[in-house]
């Protein structure tokens, strides 16, 4: 392993074509922009992770003794804002989607390369504003910015934080409509909708949500800023406003935003499960249509965040029913992925371990969503740690596991190097164990009644909180490991072949790393996606 043979004459690729800083900061290559996003969201992930670590350490003891209440409130606000708006939403679409959407459809780039670059500049400016907020006293509204607390009562830096989120929102609108146009207009000859990889279907559904939903949260948060700055009476009842109006507008985006986070992970899982089972995905069309129906129904369930908010009971009945509708396509996907493994030829490489972890944890997250959709149960568990556990099972157990599966799966293509397989498996196992130990006790805490966003808590909840914090420390190790060995692999990893997994996607039919123009000549597609019956070559990697 110590000496790595580098080909004498390295092929020109998107990485070695130019090494100047300017060539990176002014690039319009979707692959380089993906790398810019990869670096920035990784940095944001660890900032959000530090906040999470401090929260878990504070909760080791019932008394609020590590930091003041205000500091604690700022910690969970920063954790939520960063993880949702600056990590999860851009994670897979802006990194893997940016890199892979053009390659999977046989295109040279996205439809609007300069807008793609602009999207990263919006993102990084928003992230910069948020860093400024952290350094100048923070924000303490929670990531939900509920009024009138955020618009009138909070003494923290609310408007700047909102401006940061506003900019990040624009970056995701740019990414979304770029994908939509690209997928419609730039598919290679012969690549019909029925032949598209499911990764593309899922990203298409995600993009629709980004374009339709994000403006609404941008408007809602702008109105909070206006009320805060100019006392315009929109949400605060003292000024003649209605606080529930904000909640409707906020969740109209922020519920579909959950699907922005999870659909791209589902996209990765479909690719990985198929590749490592060496088998066409079971029920291709059912999985594709499930993505679309999740995107559609996802827009009709927002008020299930408001069952105890003082809304009409009859409206609650409708939103509960619709929430069960959106659970059906998610169930369909889980069953189809599981069935794909049946009679497959399964190899348990790191991406597949993450994918299996995803299916299990997403199943648990989805199942506990059924509890929250049941109106009678929601009255008890709403705003408690049960909700925290549920959405972390979806967003960390689901979205982050999917992201890590994708990063490992496409790492050879992105970097041209193989990651160390043994370390990959160790990290995957560590994350799975740490995650469950962190969040499973929180289901119990929630049904017992421990409210979320509590700096201190009654002593009878301590044992479960200690378990959770212990799990979080394991989880933290699990997240640092990939950072370490992936960086290591850039220099010492084995040189990756073009198609280490013997996969069928177009992105594997071009060199690793790919040349700037992706394909020497535009491919002509005459086969279905995941056509493993015709693949004769064997995976090179173990």
């Amino acid at each position: 392993m110590a000496t790595v043979t580098v080909p004498a004459v390295e092929r020109e690729n998107y990485l070695n074509t130019d090494f100047t800083v300017k060539s990176w900061l002014l690039t319009t290559d979707h692959k380089r922009i993906a790398i810019l996003y990869l670096l920035s969201i990784t940095a944001m992930f660890f900032v959000g992770g530090i906040a999470a670590t401090l929260i878990r350490i504070e909760l080791l003891t019932p008394a609020g003794d590590l930091m003041s209440s205000d500091t604690y409130n700022k910690m969970f606000s920063i954790h939520g804002i960063i993880m949702v708006f600056f990590f999860l939403i851009p994670s897979i679409p802006a990194v893997l989607g940016n890199f892979l959407v053009p390659m999977m459809i046989g295109a040279k780039d996205l439809a609007f390369p300069k807008i793609n670059l602009a999207s990263w500049y919006f993102y990084i400016t928003g992230a910069g504003l948020l860093m400024y907020v952290i350094l100048t006293g923070g924000v303490d509204t929670g990531w939900t910015f509920y009024v009138p607390y955020s618009s009138t009562y909070s003494n923290s830096n609310v408007i700047t934080a909102i401006a940061g989120i506003f900019l990040a929102g624009f970056s995701s609108i740019f990414t979304g409509f770029n994908f939509i146009v690209t997928i419609h207009r730039m598919r290679a000859p012969g690549l019909t909708w029925g032949r598209l990889p499911l990764f593309i279907w899922s990203h298409y559904a995600t993009s629709v949500i980004m374009v339709l939903g994000t403006p609404v949260v941008a408007i809602a948060l702008s109105l909070v800023a206006l009320e805060r700055a100019f006392h315009m009476g929109i949400f605060d009842p003292r000024l003649g406003g209605d606080p529930l109006l904000f909640q409707h507008m906020f969740w109209f985006y922020s519920h579909p935003a959950v699907y922005i986070m999870i659909l791209p992970s589902m996209a990765v899982i479909s690719e990985v499960v198929s590749t490592f089972s060496r088998k066409r995905i079971f029920g291709y069309m059912a999985v594709a249509l499930a993505s679309i129906s999740i995107a559609v129904f996802g827009f009709l369930v927002w008020a299930h965040h408001m069952f105890v908010a003082g809304m009409s009971a009859y409206a609650a009945l409708v939103f509960s029913l619709l929430s069960y509708f959106v659970a059906v396509p998610s169930a369909i996907k889980v069953f189809n992925w599981t069935a794909t493994m049946y009679k497959g030829s399964v190899s348990l490489n790191t991406p597949m371990l993450y994918a299996m972890g995803f299916i299990g944890l997403f199943t648990m997250g989805g199942m506990t969503g059924l509890y929250l959709s049941a109106l009678g149960i929601d009255v008890q568990v709403h705003h408690t740690y049960f909700v925290i556990a549920h959405f972390h099972y979806i967003m960390v157990g689901g979205a982050v596991m999917g992201y890590l599966a994708g990063i490992h799966y496409w790492w050879p293509k992105i970097s041209g190097r193989m990651y160390p397989e043994a370390w990959g498996k160790i990290a995957a196992g560590t994350i799975f164990i740490g995650f469950n130990l962190t969040f499973f006790p929180q289901f119990v805490l929630g049904y017992l009644g421990m409210p979320r966003r509590y700096h201190s808590y009654p002593p009878e909840y301590q044992v479960l909180n200690v378990m959770s914090t212990a799990g979080a420390s394991i989880l933290a190790v699990g997240y640092v490991l990939p950072l370490a060995y992936l960086l290591w692999s850039l220099r010492y990893g084995e040189v990756a072949p073009d198609n280490p997994w013997a996969a069928t996607g177009l992105e594997w039919r071009t060199p690793s790393p790919p040349p700037t123009e992706n394909f020497p000549e535009t491919p002509i597609v005459t086969w279905e996606a995941y056509d493993y019956s015709t693949v004769r070559e064997e995976p090179v990697a173990r």
């Binding site: 209440s69 409130n73 303490d140 509920y146 009024v147 009138p148 607390y149 009562y153 003292r238 606080p243 088998k279 066409r280 029920g283 291709y284 069309m285 105890v308 908010a309 009971a313 609650a316 009945l317 509960s320 069960y324 659970a327 059906v328 169930a331 369909i332 069953f335 189809n336 599981t338 493994m341 009679k343 497959g344 030829s345 190899s347 299996m356 299990g360 648990m364 199942m367 059924l370 959709s373 049941a374 109106l375 009678g376 149960i377 009255v379 008890q380 408690t384 049904y447 017992l448 009644g449 409210p451 979320r452 966003r453 509590y454 201190s456 301590q462 044992v463 200690v466 493993y532 019956s533």
Partner: protein, 333 residues
């Protein structure tokens, strides 16, 4: 610390029994399917691993299977929906004979006001076995009334009353939490419910230093603020006669009809011009900034009392207060 590892909350209300029954059903059903998925993934990963099964069998899919795993979950989901909705509709509709406690939330404390006049902070005494309705309002931001042992929760909004209710089944002391994040000392906005045997509760009610019932406080305020000059108890006043008003439909000057409930009365005191009663001129001044939420509650309680056939005896008659809306008053005060 390690002596206590609670896994299930105490059940202390009628609603808690029903919520827990559904919870157990959900645990059984979702537990079964989750374990099934885990086992299938494990078996497939072992049985069909590359070493044992070098060549995959290509299977396109199966419409029959797709239909099966669409319809079966859907059917189960509908059971969950209907069961949960049944509990929720009970939660959403306090029984008409429930006893009332008024709640004001503010950063960062709970104030409880009994109609008999007792006031409490961060502690609420209630009698065992009676249905209790909480009529709640916030003085500043959104708070949340959460009683986990009763499986009851309701946001407490500024600007309008929300209600929730419970019927206790077990004496004891239980948690009161604020569940809606409300700023610095959110985690300190906690208290307790003390559920007492009815006899002990009566003793508690009649002890202490209450200064008369809430309605009588409201009556005094009604006089002090000069409300009585216009709202006379005959037809000669410049404002509507409030006797018998509560719970009745009111025709407005723009042709709409609204019900004279707690929120309508509160709004009419603070923004009198919003809903003017037909046949009257919009001459009433606003009382915004003059009366606080607690005084508003006493005024509401007073106006309610004008629609009750008898002045309630503070203690004994609490067992069966008149249902809302009350019949026309037999006497005015």
């Amino acid at each position: 610390m390690w002596q206590t590892l609670p896994l299930w909350p105490v059940r202390a209300s009628t609603l808690a029994d029903r919520t827990d029954a559904l919870m157990i059903f959900m645990l059984a059903v979702t537990g079964f399917f989750t374990v099934m998925i885990f086992i299938l993934i494990f078996i497939f990963a072992m049985r069909f691993r590359r070493a044992r099964n070098p060549v995959a069998t290509q299977i396109e899919g199966s419409n029959a299977l797709e239909a099966t795993w669409t319809l079966i979950p859907f059917g189960i989901f509908m059971v969950m929906f209907i069961w949960g909705a049944g509990i929720y509709m009970t939660w959403a509709q306090p029984p008409p004979d429930a006893e009332e406690i008024f709640v004001v939330g503010k950063q960062w404390m709970w104030k409880f006001q009994h109609p008999e006049g007792q006031r409490e902070i961060n502690q609420m005494h209630v009698p065992l076995g009676r249905a209790i309705r909480l009529t709640m309002i916030s003085q500043d931001v959104i708070h949340g009334m959460f009683l986990p042992e009763f499986r009851v929760k309701q946001d407490v909004l500024p600007g309008r009353y929300t209600t929730t209710w419970f019927q206790t089944t077990k004496p004891g002391r239980y948690h009161v939490y604020c569940h809606e994040y409300c700023g610095t000392a959110h985690a300190g906005m906690i208290g307790e419910v003390v559920v007492m045997e009815p006899a002990a509760y009566q003793a508690w009610l009649s002890g202490g230093n209450a200064e008369g019932s809430l309605a009588s406080t409201g009556q005094k305020l009604f006089q002090q603020l000069g409300c009585a000059t216009c709202h006379r108890f005959d037809t000669q006043g410049r404002g509507p006669n409030l006797v018998g008003l509560y719970g009745k439909p009111v025709l407005l000057d723009d042709g709409r009809t609204v019900t004279a409930d707690d929120n309508y009365i509160r709004e009419s005191i603070l923004t009198p011009g919003a809903k003017v009663v037909a046949g009257f001129r919009p001459i009433m001044p606003t009382f915004q900034g003059i009366v606080n939420e607690e005084q508003l509650l006493s005024l509401v309680a007073y106006i309610r009392s004008l629609s009750q056939p008898e002045q309630r005896e503070p203690v004994r008659n609490r067992a069966a207060p008149p249902p809302h809306p009350a019949p026309s008053p037999t006497r005015s005060r």
